[in-house]
């Protein structure tokens, strides 16, 4: 095989194996086509990579832990090197976790890396999803990858919950107890689910079923599904080519960037090492989940300030601020106080996120392929809705720590609860309004930049003695980014030929669609290139007055 355009032969050590594979698979065609694949650069494109590499680290450290961990609820009396718990009755799961931490060399490091990697995995997924959402990168043709992403986040939550339940310490047992309570609240089948999950009653079931079951789900089933989905996610991304940020020379039909081989390959390799290094650093110096301090699970004990891992905080917060509503009728009970917070908020967020690309398409009527991402300011409704969702999630998440907030800031615990009960509804509305205003302000700023140029930082004194700042046209980079905005006109083709209403605009749904369509673009500020650059100081339009506010 030839690896170079100059005709120089590749060394035998390289060409030998490649030829061997090519003779059997024809793989060189694939390699040749893909080795120079362009990967556009932007810092925000690395967020997904953090998630990917954290996942790899999770697989590596997790495998290490399974070599010593005993997923068993069999009761033992601890006699080991953590002398403070000597003589204490505990499950084998807990005892083996102590063993990994204190007797296996590198065990504590691997445990802490595993936990930190899990936390980083979930953070990276969330931030990556926010990037994709706010830049509209989920738009056609990438809806499938968006849905896979939501699936991965959901699975990650479950995987994390099961994972930190395994050591069978006081904190994880409390998490399982809450899981049991939530399962029981489900109408009709709740108690059956509970019995089937635990193999009987909490916590020990008939024969200590729950820990082995969670173990299998945690190390085999869920990671298997995650791995499959990650693979699909990557393959789709590879096939569709990554989106790019707007810039000079970048269009919807091209990809500008550095080739996969060697630049991107080396960069992403370095990035894996950075992720690994940072997780190792955290695991070295930042203690996490010190289960030996919590003690083994005891159904009658609890510690104040119990907090789950961050990604479960939103459920915790919802449970905390829900009013205590319960209905009993016809011999049956429905616990709205558990059911609503357990299923409601995440249901709204996940279902909303999954449907959003299709709702947006329906509203805007935009069925085109998008390969260049949109700046958040240029889609104020989307950005506003996104910020509303972030606020909703954020308020619930903060409510999950209301006891900590109450303690640290010396406010009444009940006051924090009441605050969040309102904030969770008012916050998103405010966030939407404010975000939309900021977006429109930024659009005006862009329009002004195109119209008047940017401040040069040069102050000019006029013959009359007045001072003014010189403006210059924006540079090409800036112009390309600003002009990537697609100016919107709020009009759906309401009528087809001969005045017949278009099929999509009839009926109440059609009217709703028309209204939303109008709303989507109603306050769009047109941004256009002005080839004749007038000096800003000469022009005193209404727009330049408003421009001041936006900086």
């Amino acid at each position: 095989m030839s690896t170079s355009t100059t005709g120089a032969a590749a060394p035998k050590a390289v060409s030998g194996p490649l030829n061997f594979i090519d003779d059997r698979l024809g793989s060189t065609t694939f390699f040749r086509r893909n080795m120079k694949k362009v990967f556009p650069d932007h810092w925000s494109f690395m967020l997904g990579e953090i998630a990917l590499y954290s996942f790899i680290i999770l697989l590596l450290t997790g495998t290490f832990l399974t070599l010593w961990f005993q997923p068993s609820m069999h009761e033992v009396v601890y006699e080991g090197s953590y002398t403070k718990l000597n003589g204490v009755k505990m499950s084998e799961a807990y005892a083996s976790t102590l063993h990994i931490s204190f007797d296996v060399r590198g065990g504590l490091l691997m445990r802490q890396m595993h936990h930190w990697a899990a936390i980083l995995f979930m953070i990276a997924i969330v931030v990556h999803m926010l990037r994709v959402f706010f830049t509209g990168a989920y738009r056609k043709p990438r809806e499938l990858n968006w849905l896979i992403g939501i699936g991965l986040f959901t699975l990650g939550m479950v995987e994390g919950l099961f994972g930190y339940s395994l050591p069978d310490d006081l904190l994880s047992g409390t998490g399982l107890r809450i899981t049991q309570g939530v399962a029981e609240s489900i109408p009709v089948v709740g108690t059956y689910l509970y019995m089937f999950l635990f193999g009987g009653e909490f916590p020990h079931g008939t024969n200590g079923e729950i820990i082995p079951r969670l173990f299998t789900l945690h190390v085999l089933l869920i990671p298997g599904i995650i791995l499959a989905l990650v693979t699909a996610h990557m393959m789709i991304m590879w096939h569709q080519k990554h989106t790019q940020m707007p810039g000079p020379g970048r269009t919807n039909d091209n990809v500008v960037g550095y080739p996969f081989y060697p630049v991107f390959m080396a960069k992403t390799g370095a990035y894996f090492l950075f992720t690994f290094g940072v997780i190792a650093l955290l695991a070295t110096f930042a203690q996490i989940n010190p289960i030996w301090l919590f003690g083994p699970y005891d159904p009658g004990a609890i510690s104040a300030g119990s907090q789950p891992d961050w990604y479960m905080g939103v459920l915790e917060g919802s449970l905390r601020i829900m009013p205590n509503w319960e209905t009993t009728a016809f011999g049956h009970t429905i616990s709205w106080n558990v059911l609503v917070p357990a299923l409601g908020p995440l249901g709204i967020i996940f279902t909303g996120a999954a449907l959003w690309p299709f709702i947006e398409q329906w509203v805007t009527g935009d069925k085109r392929w998008h390969h260049t991402v949109e700046r958040p300011r240029n889609a104020p409704v989307r950005t506003g809705v996104g910020m509303a969702a972030v606020t909703f999630y954020g308020m619930l998440w903060l409510a999950g720590g209301n006891d900590v907030i109450a303690e640290k800031f010396h406010v009444s615990l009940f006051a924090t609860t009441w605050f969040f009960r309102f904030a969770v509804f008012i916050g998103p509305v405010l966030a939407y309004i404010i975000t939309k205003r900021i977006c429109l302000g930024l659009q005006r700023s862009d329009a002004a930049t195109m119209h008047h140029g940017v401040e040069a930082g040069v102050i000019i004194m006029s013959p009359e003695g007045g001072f003014s700042e010189k403006h210059e046209p924006a540079n090409e980079q800036e112009r390309a980014v600003i002009l990537s905005k697609e100016n919107r006109t709020p009009a759906l083709p309401a009528t087809e030929k001969d005045g017949i209403p278009a099929p999509g605009s009839k009926g109440p749904l059609g009217h709703l669609r028309a209204r939303l369509h109008r709303y989507w673009a109603i306050d769009d500020i047109p941004v256009e290139a002005h080839d004749d650059h007038h000096e800003a100081e000469e022009v005193e339009e209404g727009k330049s007055g408003r421009k001041e506010l936006t900086h």
Partner: protein
């Protein structure tokens, strides 16, 4: 204004940017840099020194040495990791031993691993930025959608295949196949039935019930209370005479029961000595307390955390998980938080020898609500 050379549609070379910047009027300190305000500027030059440009050989040599230095550091880190591992094994008879050794070992191994990873990462990064000469390239995106012809051909082939297979023409075949497939999908679900027992009445009773029955069989009035953690020590009224105190109790003999942990998880109870002047017995439960000593289920009626905090001054019982708050003086009724129902109360009495006893099970199911609870 006239000195700008911008406005072309060609991709900007990094050199051009520098050129344009040099020609603009001098910037006044404290004012925004021209063009430096937008987020997208940095990305046009991700590999500024190497990319596409002729490398300055002296600079490249310097960069190479720096990269090599980092790679050596990474190698040292890895060797250090192995050394730290061996060193960790020197301490106890079977390797590490205890919390101090574990901590020291964690630091040594973690620092070595961090150095190895980060040094290598930094080395590769400098390598990419200073030494790689790949040019930025532009690739066209092809349409993702197959063309109409391909679609039409596929459709035709699909219909032809369906026709050839006779599945469209022979409904009996089709329907019986569906009939065959449906139970095949359901059958494996049946296998999950033995995951656990049916709920039956399990959630309605606690070990207090059978324990009281057993005690009454032996001619006693009820079962004695033992302190959680001291299963042999039955509690006397005189042991618990200080108003304002709270302890966790269990029925005597629960440790020896079948599935003790499950029984404890349901039967765990808090005993509170409410000052007699503050105590307001619930109607019909006037004789369920012993001079203000009252017992409630410890399992929160919200989602089942132990309601373990007791505030002496306000007589509030607080669940630390979700802050449901109950009034100990008033039948543990809910004062605040997400719990809907009071903590179930255990009927207490005192036997002839002065021991606290429970005379019956909780009158209602303890813990979180469920569909069949009613």
């Amino acid at each position: 204004m006239s000195d700008n050379n911008l406005g072309s549609n060609e991709p900007m070379e990094p050199g051009d940017a520098a050129h344009a910047r040099n020609q603009s009027p001098k910037r006044v300190i404290g004012t925004p840099e021209q063009g430096g305000r937008l987020l997208a500027t940095a990305e046009s030059e991700p590999a500024p020194h190497g990319a596409g440009a002729e490398l300055d050989e002296a600079a490249a040599k310097r960069a190479e040495r720096i990269v090599a230095l980092f790679f050596l550091l990474a190698a040292l880190g890895s060797v250090g990791f192995i050394a730290a591992y061996v060193w960790s094994g020197q301490q106890g008879p079977n390797g590490m031993h205890g919390i101090e050794d574990a901590r020291a070992s964690n630091y040594a191994l973690g620092v070595a691993m961090t150095v190895a990873m980060l040094a290598m990462a930094i080395g590769v990064t400098i390598w990419v930025r200073r030494l790689m000469t790949s040019k930025q390239i532009v690739q066209q995106r092809g349409p993702l959608r197959s063309d109409e012809e391909t679609r039409a051909e596929f459709e035709a082939a699909f219909l032809e295949g369906a026709g050839d297979s006779a599945v469209t023409k022979r409904p009996l075949l089709r329907r019986t196949l569906l009939l065959a497939a449906a139970p095949l999908g359901l059958a494996p679900l049946v296998l999950l039935r033995d995951l656990g027992p049916l709920p039956e009445k399990r959630l309605r009773h606690t070990f207090w019930g059978p324990a009281v029955t057993e005690a009454k069989k032996h001619g006693k009035q009820g079962v004695r209370l033992v302190v959680d953690g001291a299963p042999t020590q039955a509690l006397k009224v005189s042991d618990f005479a200080t108003p304002g105190s709270m302890i966790t109790v269990l029925p005597e003999g629960i440790e020896e029961s079948h599935h003790a942990l499950n029984e404890i998880a349901k039967a765990v109870t808090i005993l509170i000595n409410v000052p007699a002047d503050k105590f307001k017995p619930v109607k019909g439960r006037e004789n369920w307390h012993v001079g203000g000593i009252v017992a409630y289920s410890k399992i929160c009626t919200h989602v089942g955390c132990p309601a373990a905090l007791y505030e002496q001054t306000t007589h509030h019982i607080l669940c630390p998980c979700h802050q449901s708050t109950f009034d100990a003086t008033d039948g543990a009724k809910v004062i605040f938080g997400p719990a809907a129902r009071p903590l179930p109360q255990l009927p207490l009495s005192v036997d002839k020898e002065g021991y606290l006893i429970a005379t019956d099970d909780f009158p209602e199911p303890i813990g979180p609500s469920f569909w069949e609870r009613g």
